[in-house]
């Protein structure tokens, strides 16, 4: 029978078919661990006297809590410090490999796995973090889990799960210059809504997806969860294989050949049926930004703040009213006229080397606007080192931005990198929820290109606006 990519990967991992009320038992190839969602799981193991079944399929890093300045000093917040120290003790006790703060492989868990070559096509990847969907960019079935499930995977290397439904997200045509993977995924979420993907794994396909680099594919898959889908996937191809070849944990020699042969089978068969299908035309996409307090509340940058009065669905209208009140925005205001206090470039969505290069290209020869602070937080220490080798740090510093150490940082503000109440940001992260970047903070989700241009002009902008300042208003 013709199968989709997701079904193929699922079938390869069924340890035991479900019977009666019991669902399938699925084998997990890679378990990523960080300090926030693991302490209670390790405690559970200790209480039950259970070991970690496969420490050799488990890897931990410190990312959510870590400060991005002064990392040679103890963490100032005692509660954050305890959480990080607890991870260190747990990893030592249970024999799990850990990349702690300051280590050259430390970074955001979803940046670390791929760059080490641990994330591979056709594998199952889980982590106590919803952005685990990122790893689907390699054709892996990757999804976020809660702490009880973290404990379950640590103890058994499996999870009892019902198969996901499948949704094809086909992106036809070609992206125009200046339109990025971030704009694609924001447009997808705006189209299907924050609940549209519930119960599904999304498979992104079509010519515009095939042309994306692996890092850009990660940006797309990363935000599948913002459409409600636990996982997003892209079939592996030559681009994927080229990215993996030579990475520390990628297969080599004769094993590489066998791995690639197996990976080539990971495509949705002709005639396979999806449970749902969405088509997006890449030719029509332009830079996209959010105006509200969920990632589905987004529009092209050239649009204006919407008028809730014109929204037919009552739930959505009420949600839009609440969002505009929280965001302190007036219907009809052109999005380009919204001024920001902070620009955040980083996160598991857009904290990789290509993201930093793209933003640096925009910033070269410009200065961050007066009264705006720009934080550049590489997704990992390896990304940071690479950026410094290319001189990108100097571009950011010359423009007046801050060049930080690696971590999740202002994406969720668990460390000191937060918005103050009422402050507004343009952020390359993934969530514009109320208070996400700091209590009372207001977030507009944007691509790295829009982030950089916004930093220069102080209002939501695209790089086009820097080249032709007078055209900014006329374009609407």
């Amino acid at each position: 029978m013709a199968k989709t990519l997701a079904e193929k990967v699922w079938d390869r991992h069924v340890v035991r078919k479900g019977t009666g009320a019991e669902p399938d038992l699925l084998y997990i190839d890679l378990h990523l661990v960080h300090e926030v969602t693991s302490p209670q799981a390790f405690d559970g193991l200790r209480l039950a006297g259970r070991p970690v079944r496969r420490p050799d399929l488990t890897i931990a890093t410190e990312d959510h809590n870590v400060p991005t300045v002064g990392i040679d000093l103890p963490i100032a917040d005692p509660v954050s410090r305890t959480q990080v120290e607890t991870l260190r003790r747990n990893c030592a006790e249970f024999g799990v490999r850990l990349h702690p703060m300051g280590d050259r492989e430390q970074g955001i868990v979803h940046v670390v796995g791929p760059q080490l070559g641990l994330t591979q096509p056709g594998t199952t990847v889980v982590c106590g973090d919803s952005h685990t969907s990122t790893h689907g960019a390699f054709g892996a079935l990757a999804f976020g889990i809660g702490t009880s499930e973290v404990e379950h995977v640590l103890a058994t290397q499996t999870l009892p799960l019902r198969p996901f439904k499948t949704m094809a997200v086909t992106v036809t045509g070609a992206l125009r210059p200046g339109v990025t993977a971030k704009d694609v995924i924001l447009a997808v979420i705006a189209r299907i809504g924050t609940g549209g993907g519930q119960g599904y794994v999304l498979e992104y396909r079509g010519p515009a997806i095939e042309k994306l680099s692996v890092e850009a594919r990660m940006t797309v898959c990363n935000m599948s969860i913002e459409a409600g889908a636990r996982a997003g996937m892209i079939a592996p191809d030559e681009t994927t294989f080229a990215y993996l070849k030579g990475r520390p944990h990628a297969p080599s020699g004769e094993q590489w050949d066998r791995a690639v042969a197996s990976w080539r089978e990971l495509r949705t068969d002709d005639g396979a049926e999806f449970d749902a299908e969405v088509v997006i035309d890449a030719d029509e996409l332009t830079p996209f930004v959010t105006w509200g307090t969920n990632p589905g509340q987004g529009l092209p940058l050239s649009a204006s703040v919407p008028d809730p009065e014109r929204i037919a669905d009552e739930n959505e209208r009420v949600a839009a009213e609440k969002a505009l009140s929280y965001m302190d925005l007036t219907p009809g205001t052109p999005l380009r006229e919204i001024s920001v206090d902070t620009v955040f470039l980083g996160s598991c969505t857009n904290g990789r080397i290509e993201d930093l290069r793209a933003a640096a290209d925009v910033l070269r020869g410009h200065r961050v606007a007066d009264g705006v602070r720009m934080l550049v937080v590489p997704g990992s220490m390896r990304v940071r080192a690479q950026a410094e080798a290319e001189g990108l740090d100097e571009v950011f510093l010359a423009a007046g931005a801050e060049w930080r150490q690696a971590g999740c940082s202002m994406c969720l503000g668990m460390n000191p990198d937060q918005l103050a109440p009422g402050e507004r940001s343009a952020s390359t992260s993934n969530r514009n929820f109320e208070g996400r970047q700091g209590k009372g903070g207001r977030t507009h989700l944007v691509s790295p290109l829009v982030a950089a241009a916004t930093a220069v002009r102080g209002t939501l902008s695209s790089p086009e606006d820097l080249r032709t300042p007078a055209a900014a208003g006329a374009e609407n």
Partner: protein, 200 residues
């Protein structure tokens, strides 16, 4: 886990859709390493507003939350479930739950029951016109009752079975340890392991 068969408690109308887990418990409250004590973080930002439903009697003592669609979206933090449980909630009713939240709830003993949105609307009206109305949620029968309101709800069979019997998920899986061993023997030899290698 404590078995869950039926629960009766004060219903709390939460007229909001898309309640993400950052609203249920903001990230700054996630730093504890214990499994209890998260009630102070529940709806932390909203609870500073006197008008918020949980700041009003008799909703304050509620244990059945009646929420708008797409409850529990966003972050996978199970702390959202713990915060609701620690506060005293045993049940959340909604027309749509985010997948991860619903899974977490089932594992941690909080019943996430899926109702029709039209039933949610009826319950909201009832709970707002007669504050303090008790809601009875019966997991054996899969029904919700309050005064003369009765409706059915949906819940995954596996979750229902484990909740009714208070079964430990991990112990259930470990009954299949021999099959897991067998599966591992057959895995491809080129699959990655995390054991450090030179240069990492």
């Amino acid at each position: 886990m404590e078995p869950f068969t039926t629960h009766t408690g004060v219903g709390v109308p939460l007229r909001r859709s898309n309640v993400d887990t950052d609203q249920i418990i903001p990230a700054v409250y996630l730093k504890r390493v214990t499994r209890t004590g998260f009630e102070d973080g529940l709806f932390a930002a909203w609870r500073s507003d006197e008008q918020f439903v949980l700041n009003q009697e008799p909703y304050r003592a509620g244990s059945v939350l009646v929420a708008g669609p797409d409850f529990g979206t966003g972050s996978s933090r199970e702390h959202a479930v713990w915060a609701l449980s620690d506060y005293g909630f045993r049940v959340v009713l909604s027309a749509r739950f985010a997948d991860i939240f619903r899974g977490n709830a089932g594992k941690a003993g909080l019943l996430a029951a899926v109702c029709e949105q039209s039933d949610i609307e009826l319950l909201w009206k009832l709970l707002e016109t007669e504050p303090g109305t008790e809601v009875t949620v019966d997991l054996r029968e899969k029904t919700v009752r309050a005064k003369d309101f009765t409706a059915g709800f949906a819940v995954d069979d596996y979750t229902r079975w484990r909740l009714l019997d208070g079964l430990d998920d991990i112990a259930l899986t470990l009954r299949h340890a021999a099959v897991i061993d067998e599966f591992e023997q057959a895995r491809a030899d080129w699959l990655p392991v995390t054991t450090p290698i030179a240069g990492t």
